[in-house]
Subunit: 556 residues, 2 copies
Amino acid sequence: MTLAEIRSAHETTLAEAMQANADRTFYAHWPEAPSGKIYGETANDDGLAGFQKQLNHQFDRLPAESAWTGEEVSPYGFPLGITYPSIAVEDLIARGSAAQTAWQSLTPADRASILVEALERGAKDFFEIGYATQHTTGQGFVMAFQASGPHAYDRALEAVAMGLSAQQHFAMNVMWTKPMGKISVSIDKSFRVVPKGLNLVIGCSTFPIWNTTPGMFAGLVTGNAVIVKPHPGAIYPIAIVVARVRDVLTELGLDPNVIQLAVDTVDAPITLDLVRHPALRIIDYTGGPHFGAIVEREAAEHGKIVFTEKAGVNCVVLDSTDDLDRAMDNLAFSLTLYSGQMCTAPQNIFIARDGMKVGNDVVSVDAVVDKLREKIDALVFNEKAGPTTLGAVQNAATAKRVDEAHGLGFGVVRQSAPVLQPGFEAARSLSPIVLRTDTSKVDIYTKEWFGPISFVITTDSFEQSLDEVTSSIRKHGALSALVYCTDDARMQQAEDAIVHAGAPVSFNFNSYVWVNQSAAFSDFHGAGCNPAGNATFADWSFVTKRYNVVGVRKQA
Amino acid sequence: MTLAEIRSAHETTLAEAMQANADRTFYAHWPEAPSGKIYGETANDDGLAGFQKQLNHQFDRLPAESAWTGEEVSPYGFPLGITYPSIAVEDLIARGSAAQTAWQSLTPADRASILVEALERGAKDFFEIGYATQHTTGQGFVMAFQASGPHAYDRALEAVAMGLSAQQHFAMNVMWTKPMGKISVSIDKSFRVVPKGLNLVIGCSTFPIWNTTPGMFAGLVTGNAVIVKPHPGAIYPIAIVVARVRDVLTELGLDPNVIQLAVDTVDAPITLDLVRHPALRIIDYTGGPHFGAIVEREAAEHGKIVFTEKAGVNCVVLDSTDDLDRAMDNLAFSLTLYSGQMCTAPQNIFIARDGMKVGNDVVSVDAVVDKLREKIDALVFNEKAGPTTLGAVQNAATAKRVDEAHGLGFGVVRQSAPVLQPGFEAARSLSPIVLRTDTSKVDIYTKEWFGPISFVITTDSFEQSLDEVTSSIRKHGALSALVYCTDDARMQQAEDAIVHAGAPVSFNFNSYVWVNQSAAFSDFHGAGCNPAGNATFADWSFVTKRYNVVGVRKQA
């Protein structure tokens, strides 16, 4: 396999992906169905066998080191027993720095082609990745397959394509000839992409691939050497991705340390040592807001580039609908999916005390709330769909938070209860709790209640609901907002207010798209302009802040 | 004049400018010659008359305020006596915030067209701008005309075009249809540009328009309301530009406070009050490194976007040349032009103690240095070209610095002396001082010696010269670097080293292009990756960091 072969193999893919980024219509390079017809009849069995073989073994797809580390435990109730080669911070930095020089001297198109080759090969891992993700994050298998496989790989391709578009926009070599009356003067100019420096990508425990590939591939395509530092509770999925990229680099005779995996434990974390290292110039962070704020502060103090996707408090406004059943079906699914452990899941549902207009009728708050409970119950108690939609709870702290919510003494719309995950008796799985309150409790419900916890909050009016939402976005951030409203003027009012506050907004979702979802090549994930984070997958800034263009001029 | 007329009038200009940004070949929308044939036979007389009429009067092209402020003094030796309407910080913020809402709701193409209309009308002011710039900065008239007129307006157009390219890259409205087996689901999506917030542009005293228009127009085209805060010593030139943009906005029925002029005095500065105001989200700064570092720190602490172009220490390496006369002619001009008061002017000239290879001969350091002095003398003592090339010294501190340099006790290659500016007996004008030392004085010559001060530094070798340069770039920053070298291997070595260190590099300039120059639409000004500043006129980041794209999704 030569670089020329790789270039020509992926030229069309890259051209399509660049076009898709511009068009924002539906585009997916990897099909999302975990189907044998697409990925091969034995793909599921092979992936499961690979997963089972990996359990209780060293992860030897990465080169051996003198120390091995690993402490992952499945939220479905068993330790994974996998250890990973552990590299000291100074060694990670030295190896990354050494590898970067050759990597940055490749053309952007070559870097992009190599990365697509790695992604294409990685698609063969989707089923193992699905099981690895299920048993680190707690996601149900189908969601784990989709989120960490095709959807995450599409986000990676999106970032590669954006990075390539940006770098290719300017001519790389030109003869500049200035007419000066009877004479002219010529200068031979070239423009070189200079990466900012080592790029650290800090992962989270709930979306170990989807939240990591955008920064990882954006850093790589723009010439930076990247160090991926996953959450100690969810290393396995991204380790597979890192190993695949390294394999391709090695085959091409390039230094594989362009991409490295940095592992640590909860008790001996190394993230801040990496963040603070002077050679480290770019930081991608997805995860909780507390540690995110520390990372942002460290980066700001030392002039580093930082991309964050922390968390916010996502709001819903219930004003009016043509079909309450479909609306509540949709909302119930959003509250239930992966037990509310998505950064885009709704938390606070505002409704005017007069209730909701449904067609020409007015439905009382009590009746709307009953309908919501009924729809959640129908999903949770569905023997087939319930457990797999909910999945398991990644972190014990999230389960404790459900108890804490119950202890608030608010009205209970729906009580949480343990859910049996067939085949995994010890799984930590809980159904959603929905509480009811009013705006007097604003200090409580505007905290982030991460997990299967939501609040229905009655307000005086649609206007007050909207004010609550925009004020919450500005103060606490948000990654999504959902409005049910059939009145054109109110829709426009809500759109303007929420967009100006800095959050993306969805209206009247009532079928097979949910507010939690964010589609690669179309939806910008993380608006970047509210306290929930400063980054967007994948807009111009997400790639262009990672490098500079430096000019070389020669007298011609 | 309607918006539709403006759109169609400037469509071609914008398309050409966007293409020029991508091509990087020679492009100029406004001719640089201060010629009556181009700008009208009476243009010079009209401009001079306008200038003279403005002296000792209120600047009434901006709306009256209760207070008027102004203390500008021409470096050619007389007070301008102009006062400007003075607006309190809170009023600037309130007016800008109120104006921004309508401005951001225009399409990017409409904003760009309006800005081009303002620039085209402003071109009628070039001669007055030339005199205004001459008598605030000290530049000779021709340079003042070019730098503040056509060159600055081209930089403005470049920024507008980059901003438009970036915003137009993504579709603004699409129907997203996802196939799901036998059914499909459609979502109507739109993507809205949300400006980060008020944009402050802090100007400097030496390039009051050229250094201000890029940030000003980048902020405006991306939907931000902009407050321009010029240096109290150089308000007049940019006031003309601001007034023209306001006129166009007013004619179109838009709130002119989208662009405001904030004036202050040296004794009662308001810049930090603006920088610290929470509504102020973007800051453009060009000027000295000390205050620039304060601005950067304030911005970092409060999560604001900041673009800086401070100053660095620009280096030259003399290794080899085919034609010493032409090389030294070129270098002498770069050292003399505007008395070294350009952020791109060379300061430290490194030469190996064995001398310089010229063709097949070796010329000693003494002889090279003699040649350089001879070339500076020829230019300075040229009765016609000397005074206008040198211009006057903007700040008394710069003249004092020349004395300080003399007092270092270094070898004197060329002594500075007062220069008579015909017609302006009281002008503060000085010829260049060139000193000679070696690398033992590194702590002295790596300071920024702003003004007509340079050092010839002997080293052990070409390699040591290059090490000195790259170390200086990394520690002290640079906006330019110049190398004379005819050996291919050494050229490549120098290119790689200097580019990796983060500075643009020029080789073997020997005709009518000088290292100080930075051409709009071709040269990226300010690499953005060394301590001299973080911004580049005008790369992607220079525009894309000023706004976010926020999505709106509606069930279709």
